[in-house]
Amino acid sequence: MAESRKPSPPIASRHCDDPKIDYKEVAYLQKFLTPQAQILSRKRSGFCTQCQRELKAAIKRARHMGLMAFVQ
């Protein structure tokens, strides 16, 4: 009988209580990128649905303004 694969634990704890996600906070947003500058999945970032959406928008805004890289 094949073992069921355990879900990997989130690498970050819940961040919903953090200050508001903002595209100007580049150092904070960098924490939620892979080494190749991809956005972490909700499972790995530990954000709730709404916060993950905000995070996605903020990172994309920062990329557009040249503050963050699209790829590393």
Binding site: Y23, R61, M65, G66, M68, A69
Partner: protein
Amino acid sequence: MFLLDNQVVRADWRQAKAMVTDLLAKNGAKVLCARRWDERKLAYPIRGRTRGTYLLAYFEITGTSLNGMRRDFELDERVLRYLMLKVDAIPAGEMEKAAEEGADGYVVPPPPTEEATSPERAVFGDLADRPIQENLRRNAPAEAPEGGDGAEAEVPEAAAAEES
């Protein structure tokens, strides 16, 4: 937020700022505050520029005049990128920071020195500061003639060791 060409900013920051605020005012926007956010190295080159200065402005505008304003910023070559967002309220402290910049005594922060930003320095570090001849002398096998002599000198010793 507006990303401005550093050549314009280095020439005169106040003029660069006025360029943006004038464009806003031309399209009927009421500028509440505008300030220099930061000068940064860009994450990727934009129109051949690797550094840029960001201007953060808060303004009120009607939705009907937005498209005309976007067009103006698209056509202006001094504005590399712009980002316009709807906000509920101006964040605390923004007005104070903008007022500080507007005061007479405000000094625009100087740009980073050439040495700190040159790509040669990023790759070679302190080596980039030395004259080329000196670098060549250091990196090339400068001691080659002496080393050659040493190698020749070793042969008799090795031969002597074999003999013994």
